[in-house]
């Protein structure tokens, strides 16, 4: 075989391999995005990499929410020394992200739900910026340059801007990377929903999460929340919230899980209130109270609905 023919054959073989790879793309797709739903364990180095990628994207959403400003946990005493930039992530921040419209407000009730990404609720420690203020910076002009070049707060210590919709691609990517990343679905749906303007899209996102995580009570809770508050579909909300309660694990819950559990009980009690089933609301609130002790929302429901 002469040299020229051999080269052509090698070239044809390589092109053939490329075509084969392209044609088998759909088959490879199932490894990238598993078709089989459920809480199937996803083992192996590839999945570890995807979980890590999802975690990295999760951390990134926090920076995106703060227009690129990087933060760290505050050290003891920094709440006072860096008061201008010290802040906690909790109910107040949530209010900024998802300001409830008057029609959607729950009587005497703060909306339970999710804190900003990357942070659990009740964060007593608070956060400060990674880049220190000029008065605490030993670097002199180098520090001034860093404050000028990197995203940093304005002179009043406030963040430059917040645009929560800019985090959506990150939630989409993190749940593609790891479809079992529950918080990606629950927190992502809150931002997609955008105070009821995109509830259908948020529900679709959560239903996708439900398909991959049928035993997640957090996703069921969030589905119930959206059906109750934004769709006013009380029967659907009840179905999901009751399922959430039935899925509660019989072990010590993490802080986030504990919040989701409390939310499930509160939302279901409120669902009965909105559905005009006061007796059911009181009965369920009492049951919930017996389960995890006094709760302002449930006590309020028992008091108000009990009179009816």
């Amino acid at each position: 075989m002469n040299e020229r023919l051999r080269t052509r054959l090698q070239f044809a073989a390589l092109v053939g391999c490329l075509l084969l790879l392209g044609a088998s793309g759909s088959a490879l797709g199932q490894y990238v995005r598993p078709n089989a739903p459920g809480d199937r364990e996803l083992d192996g180095a590839g999945w570890e990499g995807r979980r890590l990628l999802a975690q990295l994207l999760w951390v990134k959403t926090h920076s995106v929410l703060h227009a690129g400003v990087e933060e760290r946990d505050a050290r003891p005493g920094e709440a006072k020394t860096r008061a201008g930039e010290f802040h906690q992530h909790g109910g107040a921040s949530q209010q900024e992200i998802e300001t409830p419209e008057p029609g959607h407000e729950e009587p005497g009730h703060e909306e339970p739900g999710h804190d900003e990404p990357g942070h659990g609720g009740h964060d007593e420690e608070g956060h400060v910026f990674v880049i220190p203020p000029a008065r605490e910076d030993f670097r002199g002009v180098l520090g001034d340059l860093e404050r000028a070049v990197k995203p940093y707060a304005g002179t009043d210590g406030k963040l430059y801007s917040k645009d929560s919709s800019q985090t959506l691609p990150f939630y989409r990517l993190m749940t593609w990377a790891d479809p079992h990343f529950i918080q990606g679905y629950t927190v992502g749906s809150t931002f997609i929903n955008k105070v009821g303007k995109e509830t259908h899209a948020a529900l679709q996102f959560l239903l996708e999460g439900e398909r991959f995580n049928p035993n997640s009570f957090e996703i069921q809770t969030e589905l119930g929340h959206l059906y109750l508050v934004y769709e006013h579909d009380y029967a659907a909300a009840e179905k999901h919230l009751q399922r959430a309660i039935s899925l509660l694990p019989h072990r010590k819950l993490t802080e986030l899980e504990d919040e989701a559990r409390t939310d499930a009980y509160r939302w279901l009690a409120l669902d009965y209130v909105q559905w005009d089933k006061p007796a059911e609301a009181v009965r369920f609130s009492r049951r919930a109270r017996a389960q995890f002790g006094p709760d302002a929302t449930l006590d309020h429901i028992i008091e108000r609905q009990g009179k009816k």
């Binding site: 995106v64 227009a67 690129g68 990674v130 030993f138 670097r139 002009v141 180098l142 340059l145 860093e146 000028a148 070049v149 990197k150 995203p151 430059y160 801007s161 645009d163 919709s165 800019q166 985090t167 959506l168 691609p169 990150f170 989409r172 990517l173 997609i192 995109e198």
Partner: protein, 259 residues
């Protein structure tokens, strides 16, 4: 002096022609189109709020590829001349060794900046296509990246006179890409120390080049307003200082090399 300038000009031109002939840059530009295109695919999936994400990923691709080009070009200039033995006839002429270094440095800087401009053009088109256009801060971003190529190229050329080409690329890459983490860790450690230890670490902090100061990509991705001009001026001086230091160190080593 005029003769030296001619030497530097000829050396720079020869390096430019040689690099363009090798077609390395085309591969990088192709990779840029591929990388940015992959990021833009998400825009087609109907996800809202894609602007920051697209700008972020596009600027990350530019940062990465333009720095790789700069390091790669700088790392191979002198080792290649040495291995091909083309440096001998060059140094047999009445050319100063520093002028050889300077000619190589200028060529690498010009090529890296040219590559950056092409990458930025591709990025601008890509972002405009998906309605994620960048504000006027983009020009400052390009200017600072071009400035950063000064210290990066000078440092890599100096390292290439001491280390093997592979080690030069790895070390320069580590120092450049981990600049932010390195600087932040050092600054945080300073706070936790006291006495002599703190003094030594502070001195080290000011000695090392802080290449992360030339990275405006995050402010650009979030469309911050442009910076004040004194910042660009101060960073230009900072870059020039380190170019002088690294080329000086390189020349000291080059002068002692038995070529």
């Amino acid at each position: 002096m005029k003769e030296r300038l001619v030497h530097i000009q000829v050396l720079t031109w020869a390096t430019l022609v040689e690099t363009v002939r090798r077609k390395d840059l085309y591969v990088v530009w192709f990779l840029a189109v591929f990388g940015m295109g992959a990021g833009a695919m998400l825009a087609g999936s109907g996800v809202r709020g894609i602007e920051t994400f697209l700008r972020d990923i596009t600027l990350t691709v530019i940062n990465f590829l333009s720095t790789v080009i700069c390091i790669w070009l700088a790392a191979r200039q002198l080792p290649e001349e040495l291995s091909r033995r083309t440096l001998f006839p060059l140094l047999a002429r009445p050319v100063r060794r520093f002028d050889v270094l300077l000619g190589k440095f200028i060529a690498v800087w010009l090529l890296s900046t040219g590559a950056l401009l092409v990458l930025s053009g591709i990025a601008w088109l890509n972002l405009a296509m998906f309605k994620a256009a960048i504000g006027p801060i983009f020009w400052q971003y390009i200017a600072l990246r071009a400035l950063s190529f000064g210290p990066i190229a000078a440092m890599t050329i100096a390292l290439s006179l001491v280390l093997s080409p592979a080690a030069t690329v790895v070390l320069s890459g580590l120092l450049t890409f981990s600049a932010t983490v390195f600087a932040r860790s050092m600054a945080a450690t300073v706070d936790g120390l006291s006495g002599v230890g703190q003094w030594v670490l502070k001195a080290l902090y000011f000695l090392l080049p802080h290449l992360d100061l030339f990275d405006l990509s995050q402010r650009t991705a979030y469309n911050y307003p442009p910076m004040q001009l004194w910042v660009v001026g101060a960073l230009a001086l900072y870059a020039l200082l380190y170019v002088g230091i690294f080329l000086g160190l390189g020349e000291l080593r080059f002068r002692r090399m038995a070529v």
